[in-house]
C-alpha cells in the first residue's frame, strides 16, 4: 500500500488533534483512502509537554526546517497560526513542491492571494477547509457542490466565542462583560478576546468565503467590521419583543458588479434557521440561485472538529497523489485566469432595515423631533415602541425602520444624537431579513 508522508508544523491544540487522528486512526484512514497516511514528523519548539500522544521516537522534533527540507514529505500541515513564521514556512513548503494544508484564517485572509500564487506556480495543492467554520464543509460546498449556482448571499455565524456570549446574554439577561468572563473561564474565549469579539476573526473567514463564492481575489481590507462588545441585555430584550434574535453575522451579497461583505451584530427573525444556532456552534446559510437556501451547521472550533477538517483535506490531497494528479481543484474554485477583482461596496452605500434605540428625556415633542429628522433623511419608520422603563430619567424610544441607506441612517443618527433631549449615544443594529 502506498504511503503518503506528512509533516505537521506546530503542535498546539489543532496540531495535536491532527497528530492524534493520523496516529490513532491510521487503519481506518488507510481502509478508506487506500493509502497509508504516515505522520513522519511533528515540529514544535516544545517537545516535552505531554500531549497525550504516544509518538514514535524521532517523530516530535523541535526543528521545522528539518521537516520542510525532508524530501520524503509530501504534505505539510501548518498549525502554528498567526501571520509571522507560519507565512514563511507555508511559502517555503509550497515553493519546494510540497502540498500544504492549513487552518490559518488570518494568514489566508491577509496573504491568501500570494500563497495561492505560490501554490499554482509549483503546481501543488493548498487546502484550508479547517480555516472557516471548523468541521462544516463550507469550502468544499462552495467550490464543488454548489458549482452550478450563482451564489446570491451568504450569512454566517462564524465565531463560536461571540455566539456563546450572545446566547448567554440572551438566555440569562446578563451583561457582555459577565458573559465574556464565563466564556473565558470555560475556554471558549482567548485571554485576549479582541480578534473574536470585535469581529475580526469572522472577517478573516468571510474574506475566504467571499473569494470562493464569487470567484474574486481575497479581500480582507474592505470588509466592514463591528463587534459585539456594545450589545446590551436591553437591546436583546427589545429584539425578542419584535421577534428577532441578535447574532454576530458575517454577511455577503452578490450585487451587480460589486459584492457586499460585512461583519456586525444583526437582528435576524427568531424563526430563521440561524437564530436557533446556539452556544459555541457555527452555521452558515448559502443562497444559491438553483439551490435556494442551504445551511451548514457544526462546531466551528475545538481540537477534534478542526482536526477532522484538516484530515479531510489531507485525504483529498492523498487521493490526488494516488490518482497521479495535482491541482485537480483550482484553489479559489476557478482557474486563476478567471479570478476577478470585484470591489466590495462601501458600507455607507448598503441598504438595510434598522433597529434604533434612543435614550430620550421624558418630555413632550421628543418623538416628533426624532421622527422629523428620520423623515428628512428619507428613513421610513415601520414600528415605534416607547416603554416606560426609565433609567436615569430617560425612556428608551425604540424604532424599526424600513430599508434605508446606511449613509442616511448615519446622518440621521448624528443629528438625533445632537438633540438636547437625547441623553446617550443612540444604539443602532442592522436587521438581516431573508428579503434584504
Amino acid at each position: 500500500m502506498k504511503s503518503i508522508e506528512i509533516g505537521i508544523l506546530g503542535c498546539g491544540i489543532v496540531g495535536t488533534g491532527v497528530a492524534k487522528i493520523l496516529i490513532e486512526k491510521q487503519d481506518l484512514l488507510a481502509s478508506r483512502i487506500g493509502a497509508r497516511l504516515h505522520l513522519k514528523h511533528v515540529a514544535d519548539l516544545d517537545t516535552t509537554t505531554d500531549r497525550g500522544i504516544d509518538f514514535d521516537d524521532g517523530v516530535l522534533i523541535p526543528d521545522a526546517e528539518a521537516v520542510l527540507n525532508d524530501p520524503e514529505i509530501d504534505i505539510i500541515v501548518e498549525t502554528i497560526g498567526g501571520k509571522g513564521i507560519a507565512k514563511e514556512f507555508v511559502l517555503k513548503a509550497l515553493k519546494s513542491g510540497k502540498h500544504v494544508v492549513t487552518a490559518n484564517k488570518a494568514l489566508l485572509a491577509s496573504f491568501g492571494n500570494e500563497l495561492v500564487g505560490a501554490a499554482r506556480e509549483s503546481q501543488v495543492d493548498l487546502a484550508f477547509e479547517a480555516s472557516t467554520g471548523g468541521c462544516m464543509p463550507v469550502i468544499k460546498a462552495l467550490r464543488e457542490s454548489l458549482v452550478a449556482n450563482r451564489i446570491e448571499r451568504m450569512v454566517g455565524i462564524l465565531n463560536g466565542t461571540c455566539n456563546f456570549i450572545l446566547t448567554k446574554m440572551s438566555k440569562e439577561g446578563c451583561s457582555f462583560d459577565k458573559a465574556l468572563k464565563e466564556a473565558q473561564e470555560l475556554g471558549f474565549a482567548e485571554a485576549d478576546p479582541f480578534l473574536d469579539v470585535e469581529g475580526h476573526d469572522s472577517a478573516h473567514k468571510l474574506a475566504i468565503l467571499g473569494a470562493l463564492a464569487y470567484g474574486m481575489e481575497i479581500n480582507l481590507e474592505d470588509i466592514h467590521v463591528e463587534g459585539i462588545s456594545k450589545i446590551t441585555p436591553m437591546d436583546i430584550e427589545f429584539a425578542k419583543e419584535f421577534g428577532y434574535t441578535i447574532k454576530l453575522l458575517a454577511i455577503s451579497k452578490n450585487n451587480t458588479g460589486t459584492v457586499e461583505a460585512r461583519v456586525h451584530p444583526a437582528m435576524i427573525p427568531s424563526s430563521s434557521p440561524l437564530s436557533h444556532v446556539e452556544g459555541s456552534m457555527n452555521a452558515v446559510t448559502i443562497d444559491g440561485d438553483a439551490t435556494g437556501q442551504t445551511m451548514l451547521y457544526g462546531h466551528g472550533a475545538g481540537m477534534m472538529p478542526t482536526a477532522s477538517a484538516v484530515v479531510g483535506d489531507i485525504a483529498d490531497i492523498a487521493r490526488n497523489i494516488i490518482s497521479g494528479t495535482r491541482q485537480r481543484m483550482p484553489i479559489l474554485g476557478c482557474p486563476e485566469s478567471n479570478v476577478r477583482t470585484i470591489p466590495i461596496l462601501p458600507v455607507k452605500e448598503i441598504s438595510t432595515p434598522y433597529y434604533f434605540r434612543f435614550e430620550a428625556a421624558d418630555e413632550p415633542g421628543v418623538l416628533s423631533r426624532i421622527s422629523g429628522i428620520l423623515g428628512d433623511c428619507g428613513i421610513s419608520i415601520k414600528i415605534v415602541h416607547q416603554k416606560g422603563r426609565r433609567s436615569n430619567g430617560s425612556v428608551p424610544v425604540v424604532m424599526i425602520t424600513h430599508h434605508a441607506r446606511e449613509e442616511s441612517a448615519q446622518k440621521a443618527l448624528k443629528q438625533i444624537a445632537a438633540l438636547d433631549a437625547i441623553m446617550d449615544e443612540p444604539v443602532v443594529i442592522r436587521i438581516e431579513n431573508n428579503d434584504n
Copy 2:
C-alpha cells in the same frame, strides 16, 4: 478549451432542470471548471412538450439508445427514475465506459451494489449526490469531508412531503388526510403518495447514506420502515406538551458489529436543530467521533435544487476527466475490497424511549393494570399524563418511558391492547433524544 460531452436520459422535472443549467449557465460553468460542459443530447419519448428550454436542433431526441451508443458522449445523466428501463440504461452506459450521474434513489437502494460493481469493472465514475437530500451535499460530506470520523449516528429528515404534512398538522392542528391533500394541491406530494408517506423514499436514502457512512454494502431490505399516515393531531399536541416535535426520521447508528437503520415517525426534543426544520425542507444531522454533531440543511427535492446537485456531480467528473484520472473517489467511499457486509440490527432488538397513548375507559384500576403490564415487561415509566379530554367515553392515558427494548414494548402493548378497558389500538411513537 476542452469540451466534455453530456447526454441526458429522461427530460422530466429533474432532467429539464439539468438541461436548463447546462445550457443557460454554460459560461459560468466553463469559467469555474476550465472545460466546457456540452449538452449533446437529451433523450425523451416526449419531444414536443414545451419545457421552456431553447434546445438547438437535434439535441432533444426520442431515442435513448442513440445517446448511449454515441461514442463522443463522456457522461450520461439518468433522470428517468424508477427501477425498470433506468437500470438497463445505467448498466449499459457503465459497461460501455461512460460515466453516469443519477438522482435515482430507488434504483441505487435496490441495485446499487450491482451498479457499483459495473462501474468499477469499467473504471468509470458513478455519482449520485442528488439521490439523497437534494442539494444538501451529504454524499460528499460523508465520503470526503468526514473521512477522519467514525460516524456514530445519522438522523435525517429526508422526505419533504412528510415534513410538509407534519409541519402543517403541527401548526394548524389539522388531520393527516387534510394536510396530505394540501401537499398534493401544492405539488409537494405525488398523486400516489405511498412511497413518500409510508417512509419508503426515506428508506431508499438511508440505505445509500448507511453504505457511505459505515463502509458497508447497500442494504435496503433490512431497514425497518413505518410511515406517518397514523399520526394524529392529538399526539402532536401531546408531544408539544412534553417538549417534543414529531418528525419522520431516517435513523442509523453505528453499534459494535451491527448498525441500526430504521425509518419511522419519532418525537425529538423541540430544542434540537432538526425540530426547527419545517415545511418541505430536508436536513440531516451526522455525529462523528471527531466532529461531534454537524447538520446539513436544504431543499431535498424540486427541479433546480436537484439539478444543482446533478451538475455538481457532472463537474466533479469533468474535473477528473481534465486531470486525466477516473474513479479518484471510490464510489462507496472506500475501495471495494474494504466494503463490508454489516448486518442491520433487527428492530425488535433496538432500545429507545417510547411515547404511548392508550384510550382507556374512565374507570378505576385501569392505570394500575397498564402500569403493571409495563412493569412486568421491564419497562420503566418516566412520565404519566392523564387528561380529562374524553372522546367516545374514553380518556387518553399518555406515557413517556425510559429506554426500553422494542421487543418488550411490543409485548406489553399487545397485552395492554387486550384489556377490556382499552377502547382503541394503542399509539406508540419512539423518542429520539440526542443521548439514545
